[in-house]
Amino acid sequence: MMERKERKPYWRHTKWQMVASVVPFLVLIIVLPLYAQSLNTEKFLGFPLGYFLSAHGIAVIAIFTVASFVNRQDAIDHWHGAHEDT
């Protein structure tokens, strides 16, 4: 169990991790489709690039965001001793 005085630094750390995971992701998913039209002239794996990035790209980005968050947040938990007992 975590010590009481670790609470504040732990939560500060967690908050920044949340911001670092969510904000770039939200910006990407809002901005990317808006530029799909102009990206469609390029191609990748045969796909028009704009469509490919908005469909496959965002799926991969979402998986990457969650995976990196799980990894980083677990490291933060262990650093502050806030992890679960095993």
Partner: protein
């Protein structure tokens, strides 16, 4: 600690069990293919494909019956991350997601992505901002969490009442979609099939509650995903020589884009807030596949993405799922799995629609001079496609497609054996059962725990608690069936309203309740009531045509209204008490005992002292 380590015990044979299920399912399909070639009557095959899997789900559901509240309401907190993710992904899309999304992709191409991106973002937001904390708190329902977090019975009962509305909408939508597929499969009226599905759900989940739901819906999810992917993978091998439709339809799509341009398919330019989603029934292909913003304007695209995101992230029929994993770390991972499965299915739906457009393009690309191929005549006989009135020369726009039948059309167009079409329909029924079952159990639990027993923190005695839970589940299933029969609205619209309502009502309050410790009960009540009221009024006004805003986009007003009300009222009223602050501090830390389980343990000790 002995108390938690026992509950963390994950059944090591899960893989074996679901392996057996998957091979039984494959066995059914292969047998049907064999019997079809042997000339068994069609109606027998159709009923076997519908009832065979349903019997398997019901067997799984009843086999895990239970009398323990911890098992009945939280599946014993030992569902591993992968299965939780599978269940969450399938429940979030449901039959409406799979069937209608394929049709919508087919008809409006790129613009359908707003719903896919919304779903993916919803899982990310849920995993990062909500799920781990709800897992640490460990209550069985979302209203219980809110009520306990704000130490207010008012919040608990109010949220239970308000959340029943979107959950019933979802239940009705899924039942209608499932009944559509089942009715097509068996040739019986949709009303009969709705009743059948309600019965199937009740039989499956009534004995084991959440535990039955978890394991039967894992099986349903496997069936639904296989039924979607296997036919497309076969078509992909036929068309592109590689069984990975999600990645190989690129060159096909590029050729399609040129031909669509040659065919003169319109390149619409939708204004900012236009939101024209194809409804139920027949519609021609509206625009070129990869061109963005033809039916849905850029602003509406972003708003729809964010609305679905908030709705999925805060959905009270998905969130109880995340409290059933063995720990906070597993909960975070489960949302990663949900993203994987959801992405996989949605990309498959997109490839189904590209293949289907390609098949149709083959008919018309030589100027439409040749006669219609056999499969197109078969689709027209089935009522999946019709030719628009007054057509003299065939072009891409002279066909009108039934939106919800596109997914069933592909195996027919590719000339696969009929058993694959039946399998696809059975997959739709499986997805409908998974999503409708989740809504039924989640709402049943809310009724049993937060409405009937909402005034007391102390749960009913063990047997009574399970009994009330079972009765509530039956009641909700019947009510959902009645709504599906009495209010035949387009399931996609129902689902979008449901997301708009949940997002506006619950999302701001849930996020703030965890990330802002100054938030108090008054703020929560204001946020819930205001978000709900604004969203309902916007939907009604939008549908009546009073304002030029589609009902599905109600989140654009509801979300900020809910958040603002919660913030302002919280600041204007006295701060939260010391115990409340201590509780917030506690749920923010993954380590230590689950808050709800500890409270229940202390309650039992206290009762033993007094008794």
């Amino acid at each position: 600690m002995s108390l938690t380590s026992r509950t963390r015990f994950v059944n090591p044979r899960l893989g074996t069990y679901f392996g057996i299920f998957t091979s039984s399912l494959a066995g059914i399909v292969l047998l049907l293919i064999i019997f079809e070639q042997l000339g068994t009557s069609e109606i027998v095959l159709r009923w076997a494909m519908l009832l065979g899997p349903i019997v398997l789900y019901a067997a799984i559901g009843t086999a895990v019956f239970t009398r323990e509240p911890m098992e009945f309401f939280a599946a014993g907190r030992r569902v591993p991350a992968g299965y939780t993710g599978l269940g969450i992904a399938t429940t979030a899309m449901g039959a409406t997601g799979i069937v209608a999304m394929t049709g919508v992709f087919f008809l409006i191409g790129f613009d359908a992505l707003c719903l896919v991106i919304g779903g993916l973002a919803g899982f990310v937001i849920m995993g990062v901002m909500l799920a781990p904390f709800l897992r640490k708190f460990g209550t069985f329902t979302v209203p219980s969490f809110l009520g306990r977090r704000f130490e207010s019975r008012m919040v608990r009962i109010l949220s239970a009442g308000l959340l029943a509305v979107p959950m019933l909408l979802l239940l009705a939508a899924e039942l209608r979609m499932g009944a559509f597929a089942a009715a097509w499969l068996t040739g019986r009226p949709e009303a009969v099939m709705t009743v059948t599905l309600v019965l199937a759900i009740v039989v499956t989940v009534v004995l084991g509650g959440m535990r039955s739901l978890t394991w039967s819906s894992s099986a349903q999810a496997i069936a639904a995903i296989l039924a979607l992917i296997v036919p497309v993978a076969i078509v992909a091998v036929m068309v592109t020589n590689f069984p990975l439709p999600q990645l190989t339809h690129g060159p096909l799509l590029r050729a399609l884009v040129y031909q669509e341009a040659a065919q003169g398919l319109p390149l619409n330019e939708a204004a900012g807030m236009t939101f024209m989603l194809p409804g139920e029934g027949y519609a021609p292909i509206a625009k070129r596949f990869t061109a963005p913003f033809g039916n849905i304007g850029p602003t509406a695209f972003v708003v729809a993405t964010l609305t679905v995101m908030a709705g999925v992230a805060a959905s009270p029929w998905l969130l109880p799922r995340v409290t059933m994993t063995p720990g906070v770390y597993e909960t975070r991972k489960s949302l990663g799995w949900a993203t994987v499965f959801f992405g996989l299915v949605m990309l498959t739906a997109a490839s189904v629609s590209v293949f289907m457009r390609d098949f149709v393009m083959d008919i018309v690309k030589d100027g439409g001079s040749q006669s219609l191929p056999d499969w197109m005549r078969q689709l027209m006989e089935l009522g999946f496609v019709r030719i628009a009135a007054g057509t003299e020369q065939l072009s891409l726009t002279s066909f009108e497609f039934a939106r919800d039948a596109v997914i069933l059309s592909l195996p027919i167009a590719a000339g696969l054996p009929d058993a694959f079409v039946y399998f696809a329909a059975a997959g739709v029924v499986a997805a409908a059962l998974a999503a409708a079952g989740a809504a039924t159990v989640a709402l049943g639990n809310v009724l049993a725990e937060d409405a009937l027993n909402g005034l007391s923190w102390e749960p009913l005695p063990r047997r009574g608690r399970i009994m009330v839970g079972r009765i509530a589940i039956i009641g909700v299933a019947l009510l959902g069936g009645a709504i599906a029969l009495l209010a035949p609205t387009d399931p996609v619209r129902l689902m979008l309203w449901c997301f708009a309502l949940t997002g506006s009502t619950l999302f701001p309050v849930l996020v703030l309740s965890i990330w802002w410790k100054r938030m108090n009960a008054f703020g929560a009540v204001a946020g819930l009531a205001c978000g709900f009221a604004v969203a309902v009024l916007t939907i009604l006004a939008g549908e009546a045509g009073i304002i030029g805003l589609d009902g599905a986009l109600a989140g654009i007003l509801g979300l900020p209204a809910g958040a603002l009300a919660a913030l302002l009222v919280s600041v204007a009223t006295p701060g939260p008490s010391r115990t409340m602050l201590e509780l917030v501090h506690e749920i923010r830390v993954p380590g230590g005992e689950v808050v709800y389980d500890r409270e229940m343990r202390l309650l039992r000790l206290k009762n033993r002292e007094h008794g």
